[in-house]
Symmetry: C2
Subunit: 236 residues, 2 copies
């Protein structure tokens, strides 16, 4: 992920690889980090699909973000005594845990990587504000459409062969928890998108049939494009 945005020097590459020295498998459904529990580790997701979520006290869940291979997990938790969100695996995953001190060392020794971590966290921030605007100001149909496009785009970053069809490894309840809807209503929206010819569905796979109309319905922006990183520090 970090390495996809700029060309790294061999030294920087080695520093990043050092973060990924250790590997840990995580079973589907397992929780890597629980909200309100202490935790001083960060992770890089190597394989699989994860999510972060919070539980409200009426028991409802808000999924904050889906996490893909290459993503850095738990940065926000590292800043707090107790994790502000739960990290859970949606499929069998592999993560590379590393200590907060490793992040600290990285920032001292590789300012350009430090800047990249900041850039990365800003991309994530803007993606979150997009979702905030979606939940605050768009219809149920638009939110579901936006979720589908976003999932496809992020899958494509990992696997270039993904084009318009993909397996969405999510239940409709999970889609609802991400978009602020009920599972029942998600079902209705998917059906509606299907009836209108915007998507097709079969056996857990979704095909985006009219991407233009879908993007328009969703008012979606790909936040991994349009970056300007020319101002980053030079390599030491």
């Amino acid at each position: 992920m970090l390495s996809q945005l700029i060309d790294l020097t061999p030294v920087e590459q080695r520093a990043l690889e050092k973060l990924e020295e250790r590997q840990r498998p995580v079973r589907r459904g397992a929780v890597l980090q629980r909200e309100n529990e202490g935790c001083s580790e960060l992770y890089i997701l190597r394989k699989g699909l994860m999510m972060s979520y919070v539980l409200l006290d009426d028991g409802s869940r808000q999924i904050l973000r889906f996490l893909f291979p290459g993503d850095m997990l738990g940065v926000s938790s590292a800043v707090y005594q107790e994790a502000p969100e739960t990290l859970a695996a949606l499929s069998d995953c592999v993560v590379c845990p590393f200590d907060r001190s490793a992040l600290s060392d990285l920032m001292v020794e590789h300012p350009r990587l430090a800047a990249m971590v900041l850039v990365y966290s800003q991309i994530e921030r803007v993606a979150l504000t997009d979702r905030l605007a979606a939940l605050g100001r768009t219809s149920a149909k638009a939110r579901v459409a936006a979720l589908l496009i976003e999932l496809r785009n992020r899958l494509r970053r990992v696997d270039k062969s993904v084009t318009t069809a993909f397996t969405l490894g999510l239940t409709q309840e999970e889609i609802g928890d991400a978009t602020g809807l009920t599972a029942v209503h998600v079902n209705r929206m998917l059906r509606q998108l299907e009836e209108e010819g915007l998507i097709a569905r079969e056996a857990g796979r979704v095909t985006l049939r009219d991407e233009r109309a879908l993007t328009r319905a969703a008012n979606y922006i790909n936040r991994y494009e349009g970056l300007d990183l020319g101002w980053l520090p030079r390599t030491r």
Copy 2:
């Protein structure tokens, strides 16, 4: 802001002050940075209240964040060729503009300040996820209550004399654009909170009368507390 979280060395303090060398007044209602326009400057807000928002293509607005003295503005815009959000002044303000390269220099020369910028952006991120959960999963009343508490808490960070009463310099339409509601419904919710004795209102001032009940109704968490910054790099 950055300086409130940890003790800085004199050298670090001077580096921060350098960012605030220049000052620029911004009139109430003025726009400092417009969505989709180029922009290579960042700012530190010195005085006044600002907001960041996006406009959707049906013309509706989502306010993303309110900005208080000490906040760093435009970090996310610095990462993109075009600003992802608009920055506008809600009252007469003073900002200190500085160039992206100054941020870059800071990260090279003061790793601990670089880490603080990252910490700061993570606090903001978590506050955004709280709002995401509020919009996705809580009632109109809870959202309005959460906004009131958050405003009070952030005002108090700037001015310790603020306790339970404060002037909220927002129209009900702005509250609506922040909480994903219409101005009309915000009005009804404020009235309801008042009738239930949770708040009092007079002439633009709000008093939190039953903070415990309000916090419970809002399920609000103060994200400027509970930090753990022991792992930050040592000063060089």
